[in-house]
Protein backbone atom coordinates (compact mmCIF):
# COMPACT_ATOMS: atom_id res chain seq x y z
CA UNK A 1 0.00 0.00 0.00
CA UNK A 2 1.55 3.21 -1.22
CA UNK A 3 1.62 5.97 1.35
CA UNK A 4 2.16 4.28 4.68
CA UNK A 5 4.62 6.28 6.69
CA UNK A 6 6.36 3.61 8.70
CA UNK A 7 9.16 5.98 9.63
CA UNK A 8 6.82 8.57 11.13
CA UNK A 9 5.04 5.98 13.27
CA UNK A 10 8.36 4.82 14.61
CA UNK A 11 9.70 8.27 15.24
CA UNK A 12 6.70 8.97 17.46
CA UNK A 13 7.11 5.65 19.27
CA UNK A 14 10.81 6.11 19.92
CA UNK A 15 10.40 9.70 21.09
CA UNK A 16 7.62 8.71 23.46
CA UNK A 17 9.40 5.58 24.74
CA UNK A 18 13.04 6.57 24.36
CA UNK A 19 14.14 5.35 27.78
CA UNK A 20 12.34 2.01 27.24
CA UNK A 21 13.85 1.73 23.76
CA UNK A 22 17.39 2.19 25.06
CA UNK A 23 16.93 -0.16 28.03
CA UNK A 24 15.30 -2.79 25.84
CA UNK A 25 17.90 -3.01 23.10
CA UNK A 26 21.01 -1.18 24.32
CA UNK A 27 21.01 -1.67 28.09
CA UNK A 28 24.74 -1.06 28.57
CA UNK A 29 24.45 2.31 26.84
CA UNK A 30 21.27 3.19 28.70
CA UNK A 31 23.19 2.86 31.97
CA UNK A 32 25.80 5.38 30.81
CA UNK A 33 23.34 7.94 29.43
CA UNK A 34 20.50 9.77 31.15
CA UNK A 35 17.68 8.85 28.76
CA UNK A 36 14.86 10.11 30.97
CA UNK A 37 14.33 13.51 29.33
CA UNK A 38 16.26 13.94 26.09
CA UNK A 39 16.13 17.19 24.15
CA UNK A 40 14.98 16.37 20.62
CA UNK A 41 16.82 18.57 18.18
CA UNK A 42 14.90 20.08 15.26
CA UNK A 43 14.93 17.93 12.12
CA UNK A 44 18.40 18.15 10.68
CA UNK A 45 18.69 18.54 6.92
CA UNK A 46 21.92 17.67 5.19
CA UNK A 47 23.11 17.21 1.62
CA UNK A 48 23.05 13.57 0.59
CA UNK A 49 24.46 13.34 -2.94
CA UNK A 50 23.89 9.69 -3.88
CA UNK A 51 20.16 9.70 -3.03
CA UNK A 52 19.09 13.24 -3.78
CA UNK A 53 19.99 16.80 -3.01
CA UNK A 54 18.84 16.92 0.64
CA UNK A 55 17.69 14.50 3.28
CA UNK A 56 16.19 14.83 6.72
CA UNK A 57 17.64 12.89 9.62
CA UNK A 58 15.14 10.82 11.55
CA UNK A 59 15.87 11.59 15.20
CA UNK A 60 18.63 13.37 17.06
CA UNK A 61 18.52 13.60 20.87
CA UNK A 62 20.84 15.67 23.07
CA UNK A 63 21.23 14.27 26.57
CA UNK A 64 23.66 14.16 29.48
CA UNK A 65 25.92 11.19 30.15
CA UNK A 66 25.99 9.73 33.67
CA UNK A 67 29.79 9.46 33.63
CA UNK A 68 32.68 11.33 31.99
CA UNK A 69 33.08 10.61 28.27
CA UNK A 70 36.70 9.88 27.34
CA UNK A 71 38.02 12.32 24.76
CA UNK A 72 35.16 14.81 25.25
CA UNK A 73 34.89 18.02 27.26
CA UNK A 74 32.09 18.84 29.71
CA UNK A 75 29.69 21.69 28.86
CA UNK A 76 28.68 23.74 31.90
CA UNK A 77 29.66 20.80 34.09
CA UNK A 78 27.61 18.25 32.12
CA UNK A 79 28.92 15.58 29.79
CA UNK A 80 26.60 16.06 26.84
CA UNK A 81 26.19 13.61 23.98
CA UNK A 82 23.95 13.07 20.97
CA UNK A 83 22.04 9.93 20.10
CA UNK A 84 21.29 9.76 16.39
CA UNK A 85 18.63 7.25 15.32
CA UNK A 86 17.76 6.32 11.74
CA UNK A 87 14.74 4.15 11.02
CA UNK A 88 14.98 2.00 7.92
CA UNK A 89 11.87 0.38 6.49
CA UNK A 90 13.19 -1.05 3.18
CA UNK A 91 14.25 -4.71 3.20
CA UNK A 92 17.97 -4.02 2.61
CA UNK A 93 20.62 -2.92 5.09
CA UNK A 94 23.21 -1.60 2.63
CA UNK A 95 21.72 1.84 1.81
CA UNK A 96 21.67 2.83 5.48
CA UNK A 97 25.37 2.19 6.11
CA UNK A 98 26.78 5.03 4.02
CA UNK A 99 23.99 7.36 5.11
CA UNK A 100 24.71 6.73 8.81
CA UNK A 101 28.31 7.70 8.24
CA UNK A 102 27.53 10.86 6.24
CA UNK A 103 25.03 12.02 8.86
CA UNK A 104 27.48 11.24 11.64
CA UNK A 105 30.14 13.45 10.08
CA UNK A 106 27.63 16.27 9.54
CA UNK A 107 26.35 16.08 13.14
CA UNK A 108 29.83 15.96 14.60
CA UNK A 109 30.88 19.01 12.57
CA UNK A 110 27.78 20.94 13.58
CA UNK A 111 27.58 20.15 17.30
CA UNK A 112 31.07 18.99 18.26
CA UNK A 113 29.60 16.43 20.68
CA UNK A 114 30.20 12.68 20.95
CA UNK A 115 27.48 10.82 19.02
CA UNK A 116 25.98 7.39 19.55
CA UNK A 117 24.64 6.26 16.15
CA UNK A 118 21.77 3.73 16.08
CA UNK A 119 20.01 2.11 13.11
CA UNK A 120 16.55 0.57 13.50
CA UNK A 121 15.68 -1.95 10.78
CA UNK A 122 12.00 -2.74 10.46
CA UNK A 123 12.36 -5.40 7.75
CA UNK A 124 15.95 -6.62 8.04
CA UNK A 125 16.90 -8.95 10.89
CA UNK A 126 20.71 -9.24 10.65
CA UNK A 127 21.71 -10.63 14.08
CA UNK A 128 18.84 -9.00 15.94
CA UNK A 129 20.94 -6.61 18.04
CA UNK A 130 24.52 -5.81 17.13
CA UNK A 131 27.08 -3.52 15.59
CA UNK A 132 27.10 -2.91 11.84
CA UNK A 133 30.01 -1.48 9.88
CA UNK A 134 30.39 0.93 6.98
CA UNK A 135 33.72 0.45 5.22
CA UNK A 136 35.38 2.63 2.60
CA UNK A 137 38.56 1.27 1.07
CA UNK A 138 41.08 2.41 -1.52
CA UNK A 139 42.64 -0.81 -2.74
CA UNK A 140 44.07 -2.39 0.37
CA UNK A 141 43.83 0.79 2.43
CA UNK A 142 40.87 0.98 4.84
CA UNK A 143 40.11 4.69 4.55
CA UNK A 144 36.91 4.75 6.65
CA UNK A 145 35.71 2.21 9.16
CA UNK A 146 32.50 3.47 10.78
CA UNK A 147 30.42 1.46 13.23
CA UNK A 148 26.93 1.98 14.56
CA UNK A 149 24.61 0.06 16.87
CA UNK A 150 21.57 -1.49 15.31
CA UNK A 151 18.46 -3.42 16.11
CA UNK A 152 16.99 -5.59 13.33
CA UNK A 153 13.51 -6.33 14.63
CA UNK A 154 12.78 -9.38 12.40
CA UNK A 155 15.92 -10.98 13.86
CA UNK A 156 14.45 -11.06 17.39
CA UNK A 157 12.11 -13.60 18.98
CA UNK A 158 8.60 -12.05 19.12
CA UNK A 159 7.20 -14.74 21.43
CA UNK A 160 9.86 -13.95 24.02
CA UNK A 161 9.44 -10.16 23.83
CA UNK A 162 5.63 -10.22 24.00
CA UNK A 163 5.92 -11.86 27.40
CA UNK A 164 8.58 -9.46 28.68
CA UNK A 165 8.25 -6.59 31.17
CA UNK A 166 9.15 -3.76 28.78
CA UNK A 167 5.91 -2.41 27.26
CA UNK A 168 7.62 -1.14 24.14
CA UNK A 169 9.03 -4.63 23.64
CA UNK A 170 5.52 -6.10 23.95
CA UNK A 171 4.34 -3.85 21.11
CA UNK A 172 7.40 -4.27 18.90
CA UNK A 173 7.03 -8.06 19.14
CA UNK A 174 4.59 -7.64 16.22
CA UNK A 175 7.56 -6.82 13.96
CA UNK A 176 9.78 -9.59 15.23
CA UNK A 177 10.14 -13.22 14.15
CA UNK A 178 6.89 -15.09 14.90
CA UNK A 179 6.10 -18.70 13.94
CA UNK A 180 3.02 -18.61 11.73
CA UNK A 181 0.96 -20.73 14.13
CA UNK A 182 1.56 -18.17 16.90
CA UNK A 183 0.85 -14.93 15.00
CA UNK A 184 -2.82 -14.64 16.03
CA UNK A 185 -2.03 -15.54 19.66
CA UNK A 186 0.83 -13.06 19.78
CA UNK A 187 -1.36 -10.23 18.46
CA UNK A 188 -4.16 -10.97 20.91
CA UNK A 189 -1.77 -11.40 23.83
CA UNK A 190 0.10 -8.18 23.06
CA UNK A 191 -3.16 -6.20 22.91
CA UNK A 192 -4.42 -7.80 26.13
CA UNK A 193 -1.22 -6.99 28.02
CA UNK A 194 -1.10 -3.43 26.70
CA UNK A 195 -4.76 -2.80 27.50
CA UNK A 196 -4.14 -3.95 31.08
CA UNK A 197 -0.78 -2.15 31.39
CA UNK A 198 -0.49 0.63 34.01
CA UNK A 199 0.17 3.26 31.33
CA UNK A 200 -1.49 6.57 30.41
CA UNK A 201 -4.15 6.15 27.70
CA UNK A 202 -2.08 7.94 25.04
CA UNK A 203 0.82 5.55 25.56
CA UNK A 204 -1.49 2.53 25.54
CA UNK A 205 -2.95 3.75 22.27
CA UNK A 206 0.43 4.28 20.58
CA UNK A 207 1.62 0.81 21.53
CA UNK A 208 -1.64 -0.97 20.67
CA UNK A 209 -1.78 0.80 17.34
CA UNK A 210 1.74 -0.39 16.58
CA UNK A 211 0.70 -4.00 17.22
CA UNK A 212 -2.32 -3.76 14.95
CA UNK A 213 -0.49 -1.93 12.21
CA UNK A 214 2.48 -4.28 11.95
CA UNK A 215 1.25 -7.73 12.91
CA UNK A 216 1.88 -9.75 9.73
CA UNK A 217 -1.48 -11.02 8.49
CA UNK A 218 -3.24 -12.72 5.66
CA UNK A 219 -6.94 -13.53 5.46
CA UNK A 220 -6.59 -16.87 7.25
CA UNK A 221 -4.56 -15.41 10.11
CA UNK A 222 -6.91 -12.48 10.38
CA UNK A 223 -9.89 -14.87 10.75
CA UNK A 224 -7.93 -16.80 13.40
CA UNK A 225 -7.14 -13.54 15.19
CA UNK A 226 -10.77 -12.39 15.14
CA UNK A 227 -11.90 -15.76 16.51
CA UNK A 228 -9.32 -15.66 19.27
CA UNK A 229 -10.38 -12.15 20.29
CA UNK A 230 -13.83 -13.55 21.13
CA UNK A 231 -12.30 -15.92 23.70
CA UNK A 232 -12.50 -15.20 27.43
CA UNK A 233 -9.15 -13.55 28.16
CA UNK A 234 -9.45 -11.17 25.21
CA UNK A 235 -13.10 -10.11 25.27
CA UNK A 236 -12.46 -6.73 26.86
CA UNK A 237 -9.59 -5.91 24.53
CA UNK A 238 -11.40 -5.32 21.27
CA UNK A 239 -13.83 -2.83 22.70
CA UNK A 240 -10.98 -0.62 23.84
CA UNK A 241 -9.10 -0.50 20.56
CA UNK A 242 -10.50 1.17 17.45
CA UNK A 243 -8.91 -1.24 15.07
CA UNK A 244 -6.26 -0.33 12.58
CA UNK A 245 -8.22 -2.59 10.22
CA UNK A 246 -11.13 -0.14 10.41
CA UNK A 247 -8.78 2.77 9.86
CA UNK A 248 -7.46 0.95 6.79
CA UNK A 249 -10.98 0.49 5.39
CA UNK A 250 -11.70 4.19 5.73
CA UNK A 251 -8.36 5.21 4.25
CA UNK A 252 -8.79 2.87 1.25
CA UNK A 253 -12.25 4.25 0.50
CA UNK A 254 -11.21 7.88 0.88
CA UNK A 255 -8.26 7.30 -1.42
CA UNK A 256 -10.36 5.65 -4.13
CA UNK A 257 -13.05 8.32 -3.98
CA UNK A 258 -10.37 10.90 -4.64
CA UNK A 259 -9.17 8.88 -7.64
CA UNK A 260 -12.75 8.73 -8.96
CA UNK A 261 -13.39 12.43 -8.42
CA UNK A 262 -10.18 13.43 -10.18
CA UNK A 263 -11.02 11.11 -13.03
CA UNK A 264 -14.44 12.72 -13.43
CA UNK A 265 -13.83 16.36 -12.60
CA UNK A 266 -10.09 16.91 -13.06
CA UNK A 267 -7.58 18.04 -10.40
CA UNK A 268 -9.36 18.86 -7.14
CA UNK A 269 -8.96 22.28 -5.51
CA UNK A 270 -7.63 22.32 -1.95
CA UNK A 271 -10.97 23.19 -0.36
CA UNK A 272 -12.59 20.18 -2.05
CA UNK A 273 -9.79 17.92 -0.78
CA UNK A 274 -10.27 19.37 2.70
CA UNK A 275 -13.97 18.60 2.58
CA UNK A 276 -13.28 15.08 1.40
CA UNK A 277 -10.81 14.53 4.25
CA UNK A 278 -13.32 15.85 6.76
CA UNK A 279 -16.15 13.51 5.71
CA UNK A 280 -17.05 10.93 8.35
CA UNK A 281 -16.24 7.32 7.48
CA UNK A 282 -19.88 6.27 7.13
CA UNK A 283 -20.43 8.86 4.39
CA UNK A 284 -17.78 7.37 2.09
CA UNK A 285 -19.58 4.29 0.76
CA UNK A 286 -22.75 6.24 -0.22
CA UNK A 287 -20.59 8.93 -1.83
CA UNK A 288 -18.88 6.24 -3.90
CA UNK A 289 -22.25 5.42 -5.48
CA UNK A 290 -23.33 9.04 -5.90
CA UNK A 291 -20.21 9.80 -7.93
CA UNK A 292 -21.46 7.41 -10.61
CA UNK A 293 -24.45 9.69 -11.34
CA UNK A 294 -23.34 13.16 -10.23
CA UNK A 295 -22.63 15.86 -12.78
CA UNK A 296 -20.70 18.18 -10.52
CA UNK A 297 -18.78 18.47 -7.28
CA UNK A 298 -21.53 20.79 -6.05
CA UNK A 299 -24.09 18.03 -6.47
CA UNK A 300 -21.93 15.87 -4.24
CA UNK A 301 -21.71 18.57 -1.58
CA UNK A 302 -17.98 18.98 -2.12
CA UNK A 303 -18.01 22.46 -3.72
CA UNK A 304 -20.09 25.58 -3.21
CA UNK A 305 -20.51 26.89 -6.74
CA UNK A 306 -20.80 25.61 -10.26
CA UNK A 307 -17.70 27.43 -11.46
CA UNK A 308 -15.51 24.77 -9.95
CA UNK A 309 -17.31 21.92 -11.69
CA UNK A 310 -16.32 20.51 -14.99
CA UNK A 311 -18.91 18.93 -17.27
Amino acid sequence: VDDLDHDQRFKTLIQEFFDDFMRLFFARWAERLDCSSPEWLPQEVFPDPPEGPRRVMDLVARLPAREPIPGARPTDGAWLALVHIEIESPDKAAPLRGRMHRYHVALRDRYGLPILPIGVFLRVGLDGIGIDTHLETFWELEVVRFQYLYVGLPGLDGVQYVQGDNWLGVALAALMRIPRERVAWLGAEALRRLTEAPLPKRRQFLLSECVQAYLPMDDQLRAEFEELMKAEPYQGVKAVNKTVYEQGIESGQRRMIRVLLEDRFGPLPKDVLDRLDALPGERLAPLGKEILRANSLTELGLADDQQRDRP
Partner: protein, 66 residues
Amino acid sequence: VNKTVYELGVEAGIRELLRDQLADRFGPLPPEVAGRLEAMSYAQLRSLVKQVLRATSFKDLGLADD
Protein backbone atom coordinates in the same frame (compact mmCIF):
# COMPACT_ATOMS: atom_id res chain seq x y z
CA VAL B 1 2.30 -13.55 5.31
CA ASN B 2 3.27 -10.15 4.00
CA LYS B 3 0.52 -7.65 4.72
CA THR B 4 -0.19 -5.67 7.82
CA VAL B 5 -3.66 -5.43 9.34
CA TYR B 6 -3.84 -1.85 8.03
CA GLU B 7 -3.07 -2.95 4.46
CA LEU B 8 -5.73 -5.67 4.66
CA GLY B 9 -8.15 -2.98 5.83
CA VAL B 10 -7.30 -0.70 2.90
CA GLU B 11 -7.97 -3.51 0.43
CA ALA B 12 -11.20 -4.48 2.17
CA GLY B 13 -12.37 -0.86 2.04
CA ILE B 14 -11.76 -0.59 -1.69
CA ARG B 15 -13.47 -3.94 -2.32
CA GLU B 16 -16.51 -2.82 -0.35
CA LEU B 17 -16.68 0.42 -2.34
CA LEU B 18 -16.39 -1.47 -5.63
CA ARG B 19 -19.03 -4.05 -4.65
CA ASP B 20 -21.49 -1.23 -3.91
CA GLN B 21 -20.70 0.62 -7.12
CA LEU B 22 -20.91 -2.48 -9.30
CA ALA B 23 -24.21 -3.56 -7.74
CA ASP B 24 -25.54 -0.06 -8.24
CA ARG B 25 -24.56 -0.02 -11.91
CA PHE B 26 -25.16 -3.58 -13.05
CA GLY B 27 -27.35 -5.19 -10.39
CA PRO B 28 -26.52 -7.94 -7.85
CA LEU B 29 -23.06 -9.46 -8.27
CA PRO B 30 -23.06 -13.08 -9.52
CA PRO B 31 -20.86 -15.38 -7.39
CA GLU B 32 -18.28 -15.57 -10.20
CA VAL B 33 -17.89 -11.78 -10.24
CA ALA B 34 -17.75 -11.55 -6.45
CA GLY B 35 -15.10 -14.29 -6.42
CA ARG B 36 -12.90 -12.49 -8.95
CA LEU B 37 -13.22 -9.24 -7.05
CA GLU B 38 -12.19 -11.01 -3.85
CA ALA B 39 -9.05 -12.42 -5.48
CA MET B 40 -7.78 -9.08 -6.84
CA SER B 41 -4.63 -7.43 -5.55
CA TYR B 42 -4.40 -3.82 -4.35
CA ALA B 43 -3.00 -2.68 -7.71
CA GLN B 44 -5.77 -4.47 -9.63
CA LEU B 45 -8.46 -3.01 -7.39
CA ARG B 46 -7.05 0.47 -7.81
CA SER B 47 -7.07 0.14 -11.58
CA LEU B 48 -10.61 -1.26 -11.55
CA VAL B 49 -11.91 1.76 -9.64
CA LYS B 50 -11.03 4.01 -12.56
CA GLN B 51 -12.69 1.71 -15.11
CA VAL B 52 -16.03 1.47 -13.30
CA LEU B 53 -17.15 4.89 -14.51
CA ARG B 54 -16.87 3.97 -18.18
CA ALA B 55 -17.64 0.25 -18.20
CA THR B 56 -20.97 -1.01 -19.45
CA SER B 57 -20.83 -4.57 -18.12
CA PHE B 58 -18.99 -6.95 -15.77
CA LYS B 59 -17.30 -8.36 -18.86
CA ASP B 60 -15.88 -4.92 -19.75
CA LEU B 61 -14.17 -4.94 -16.40
CA GLY B 62 -12.77 -8.44 -16.78
CA LEU B 63 -15.03 -9.70 -14.01
CA ALA B 64 -17.09 -12.07 -16.16
CA ASP B 65 -16.45 -14.18 -19.24
CA ASP B 66 -19.65 -13.48 -21.14
